[in-house]
Amino acid sequence: MGQIKNHEVEELVQNGIVVTSVEKVLNWGRGNSLWPVLFGLACCAIEMMAAGGSRFDLARFGYEIFRPSPRQADLLIVSGTVTDKMAPLVKRIYEQMPEPKYVIAMGSCAISGGPFVDSYNVVPGVDTIIPVDVYVPGCPPRPEALIDGMLQLKKKINNPNVARLMENV
């Protein structure tokens, strides 16, 4: 067995054989079936529900299985304001999820505290507690914006090197 040369790849594809790496296949699988945790905090959760409804339809991307238990999910969509009383619980749910896991911060309250940032009880952005992959701005963001955010996440999963480069830019 030797290395497969580039011109041989085309011949294989014509015969129905695709050659790729294990990492690419795993990323493709993970990106195309993200299972979110049912975790709605405030108003943005209603737009998340509407995104799961039949008009905007998350199901056509493979994302509609919302799991009630964090141990069976791989995506945490923080939708709504995180208060001081709720912050340790958000962290605990994040820690209960198995690797690999991703976080989307949806809405301006989750990104930076939103209109309530001057309050005595509000955490200024969920990225002070857990690492965030994608930020979806809006108050609340439209369901189409949330779907766009999830597709950006899929792009990020499929190209981990590009994502690492962009982080340091």
Partner: protein
């Protein structure tokens, strides 16, 4: 029941204590915490029949704390505003939970955010803030750093 009749009955029951006025066509009674339980029991009785306590809240004025009660009578179709003035050094007054059970969580909220103590309430502890929160946020002298 008309406002004038209500005012006359209240004047008779309070016996000269407190202050009774009218603002934006609602009768407003201002008393201190000593007259509260007595008047509250009379208001619940069939004479006035104020069976619905719609709102219980408190305000931090410069000179005092004022606890405000809003009543409705479903049978007589009347409204009443009761204001109880208490001092800032000793902010406490009797609880009306034995008369209107809706005062349960509303008094806890006032205690939680303003630090006013309702004597006789069976479970007066914090309800909206975490148990280890220090201070009473809605007081005007509560200082905190902005996290912007």
């Amino acid at each position: 029941m008309s406002n004038d009749k209500l005012k006359d009955m209240l004047v008779a029951d309070l016996g000269g204590k407190g202050e009774i006025t009218e603002f934006l066509s609602e009768v407003v009674v201002t008393i201190t915490s000593k007259e509260l339980l007595d008047l509250a029991n009379k208001l619940k009785s069939d004479k006035y029949d104020f069976d619905f306590l719609v709102n219980l809240t408190a305000v931090d004025f410069e000179e005092n704390f004022t606890v405000v009660y809003n009543f409705r009578s479903l049978s007589n179709k009347t409204k009443l505003v009761l204001r109880v003035v208490i001092s800032k050094e000793e902010p406490s007054l009797p609880s009306v939970i034995g008369i209107w059970k809706t005062a349960d969580w509303q008094e806890r909220e006032v205690f939680d955010l303003l630090g006013i103590i309702f004597t006789g309430h069976p479970e007066l502890h914090r309800i909206l803030l975490a148990d280890d929160f220090e201070g009473y946020p809605l007081r005007k002298d509560y200082k905190f750093d902005s996290r912007r």
